[in-house]
Amino acid sequence: MQNLTVDPASTATRSAVAVRSLRKSFGRQLVLDGIDLDVAEGTVFALLGPNGSGKTTTIGILATLLAADGGTVRVAGHDLATEPDLVRAAIGVTGQFSAVDELLTGQENLILMADLHHLGRAEGRRRAAGLLERFELTGAAGKMAATYSGGMRRRLDLAMTLVGDPRIIFLDEPTTGLDPRSRRTMWEIVRELVARGVTILLTTQDLDEADELADRIGVLDHGRMVADGTAAELKRQIPGGCIDLRFTDAAALDSAAALLDGASRDEAGLILQVPYDGRARSLKDLLDRLDRLAVPEPALSVHTPDLDDVFFALTGQPRTEQDGPR
């Protein structure tokens, strides 16, 4: 189907994903209440929100798995409602629950994907071997996926998504439930993909992860986009973190407290808590001022704002686990 009213310059080249007033309800429960989002080509957009905020529903709609109740969605320049097959040809999806065939081996799973992309036997085997190598699965290539660990399964899952070389990838909570090392590996893979020009829309519950990976972050709460901007823009809206200084004696604590305005003291723990806006400059100033005090060097730890702080700042309410479908 051809849509003659589309201006290719405005849709195909700038936004890989453009969502306007997207609405979705399950029965009487409103899950998405008119969200807008744009993901520029070759960038990473993170949808940040707690369980039940509508992240997975959004991904489900963009991935053509769920029908929207209202709004428009264009993915890779194609209208989701009228050209779902062209959207499917452009995207790769790795969901929250492993989308691997457990009764097939890792290699068979990848070759299955290659066959479904009509790559041909030799090219399919070559690409499967390359991905097994890149995702450190070569040793397990001949084992059934049912025997894989959580981290291996997630890597195989993403490798399967990459067989078709998609230009746009949706990752639904790609690191939830992974150990720290697997999480790092996943982050590196995402960065590699972006370096190759792939556009990524991911969801996460973790502010650090969004900060680490995303060019833009959208904060989703009860099906509404409560904030949308770069990590720096969002952090400016958040009260910021603090620095804990742990002293070895009460005298040092007293003299430091006299010097630093706005700090709060924890007498029992000999800790002075100083507000911190996250800038290197402010940290340097603080260290310079401490240097001028003739006290034994305190132990220092930095606390950055987490998702709870973001939600408190943006919604005025503490974050609560929300009911409803993910």
């Binding site: 991935a63 053509t64 798995l65 769920l66 097959d85 062209l86 499917r88 040809a89 995207i91 999806v93 969901g95 629950f97 492993s98 989308a99 691997v100 065939d101 457990e102 009764l103 097939l104 068979e108 299955l112 066959d115 479904l116 992309h117 009509h118 059934m144 399967m160 078709g164």
Partner: protein
Amino acid sequence: MTALSLAARDSATMLRRDVRHALRFPMMTVSGITVPVVLLLLFVGVFGHALSAGLGTPLGASYVDFLAPGILVMTAGFAAEATAVNVCTDMHTGIIPRFRTMAISRGSVLTGQVTGSLIRTMISGVLVIAVALLLGFRPSAGPVAWIAAAGMFALLTTALTWLTVAFGLLAKTPAGANSLALIPAFLPFLSSAFIPASSMSGGVRWFAEHEPFTPITNTLRGLLTGTPIGSSAILAIAWCAGITLGGYVWARALYNRGG
């Protein structure tokens, strides 16, 4: 490539996947053959003499000749039960949503499963016939009649497979799929598979005379052992075509509905 050849290619890929599953997890296939073989042994060895004596001449000299075509029909029924369970189990794994997000032929997942089931059921049919031959089954069919019987069996299998694929898609759990698929698996008991419908009484007789498994069994029996077929063939083909079409449309609708 045309849309049709792409669909055929994707279906062939899905068939390879289905065959791999069956080879890796053969219990469902094996158990599908076990029930008809046990029934064959039970009815020939235990009840055979009594049934032959009680029913008199219509059954002819050997009850196994009467029974084997009916057991063949039952084989298709029990194989279809395995299909329902397989489809239901598969539909609840994460790979199906992945297929739905890919630009592949929509029907290929189901076509692959149906073709895989058809192949497995044909093999089961051959094995059940082999056991029947060991038990003294002496078909009178020539090559043409054998081919026609194989065609009838394939039509029956296709019909039951599409129907039970729809059951597998409809059911929330494999156990639920299994219960639904017991209907086609057990309906042959109320047909001419074990005894002639004319020897039953009242409502049961009326039901047996009008349900699809009776003309199908009569057709297979006629082709294999030379008993009269009459209008059974056309009825059997019509039933199979109707069930295939209904099952196919229903299954496609359930699959496309998603979820």
